[in-house]
């Protein structure tokens, strides 16, 4: 099984460098988190244009607030999540008030704790996907978000079935390592 890990600074180290005005660190942090931030914004705002506005606002807030990050209080991912969530909530406040809809009975929508848990899980998953090498990412995306079987993925990518299986297991193992505890760099 492939065990090559990407080397580089942790998220916390990047945030500390951003606090000193390091633009290259900010760009690297952006690469790691832009999809996670946009995904969270899309979930909360629903509208692509507003979600992109909120994503940009979130990264401006990260740039401006980096000095408030305290590595002794946790890794970078939860801090970034909190800053992004606040920026997106501000975007939500700028939306017009929704028209209330009457429900005939108890709703089946998940409650706030479940929503928060799903959002945090999606945030971690989207961040962890950035750890995958380019040749592993498509097999995960096609399996989980296009609903293709391993054989269909092999045909789609014009790869031997065995290669698809190997890459899939390798990608899942890599994601497991990234998601375990504070495994995110």
């Amino acid at each position: 099984m492939e065990r090559v890990e990407r080397q580089g600074p942790t998220d916390g180290e990047l945030i500390a460098r951003v606090a000193t005005g390091d633009r290259s660190a900010f760009e690297e942090l952006y690469g790691r988190y832009v999809r996670a931030v946009l995904g969270l914004a899309l979930r909360r705002l629903g509208d692509r244009g507003r979600a992109e506005d909120a994503t940009q606002d979130a990264f401006v807030a990260i740039w401006r607030s980096a000095r408030t990050y305290d590595p002794d209080r946790g890794s970078g991912a939860p801090w970034l999540y909190a800053i992004a969530r606040n920026a997106i909530t501000d975007g939500l406040r700028r939306l017009p008030e929704p028209v209330a809809e009457l429900q005939d009975g108890p709703g089946n929508e998940p409650g706030p704790p479940e929503v928060a848990e799903r959002e945090w899980a999606a945030w971690r998953v989207h961040r962890a996907l950035e750890e995958l090498p380019a040749h592993e990412r498509p097999v995960i995306e096609l399996a989980y978000w296009r609903g293709l079987s391993q054989s269909e993925i092999a045909r789609s990518l014009e790869l031997p079935l065995g290669t698809v299986k190997t890459r899939t297991r390798s990608a899942l193992a890599r994601l497991a390592r990234a998601l375990e505890g504070d495994g995110l760099r």
Binding site: A19, T20, G21, F26, E27, Y30, V34, R35, A36, L38, G39, L42, R43, E52, T55, Q56, F59, V60, A61, W63, R64, S65, R67, T68, Y69, D70, N86, T89, D90, R93, R118, A121, A122, R124, V125, H126, L129, I140, E141, A143, Y144, W145, G147, S149, Q150, K165, T168, R169, L172, A173, L175, A176, L179, E180
Partner: protein
Amino acid sequence: MSRRPPDFDELVGDVEPGERARLEHVHGLLVTSDAPPELSARLSSPPAPAPSRVAVVRRSGRALALAAALAATTFAVGVLVGDRLTDPDTFEVVVLTGTGSATDASGTLEVFDLDEAGNWPMELSVRGLVPSSDDARYELWLTRGSELVALCGSFLAEPDGTTVVPMNAPWRLDDFDGWVVVEEASRASVLSG
């Protein structure tokens, strides 16, 4: 949108139980997560952070020494003071959170470098406050031990509950331990940091 989750056994085949549990956990997270969104050209690169809104002040040696000494102190309330000598524009950014009757309010207080006269120029940005009427102003205070000690200015909130307003603190910041925004009349706290 409903989609067919992939067959976990087909994905991983035969693996030892410990590894299987790890991979199954990841599988569960992937199944419940949305697809990562595609990025438009607009988001292909990070936003350019706004340039500083105050001029960089040329300091005398005395002022530089004073500022460096002050930079060695931190507020206890979640504020980390960075190395100001490497970033002469912004001294610190304080994140303010809603309190009391304004739990949905939020704000930031950007404290710029000490000027030669000993003032800390600042910019206060707030959201989610109750809009001000003529006699309903808000005040920004420095606090010590939860007491309002030093006034740094007053302001009105816009009809949408926001405002961005310059402030000033002609005080030694290390004499205090926090910031608070209060309603002028009632002195009720609405933001703190």
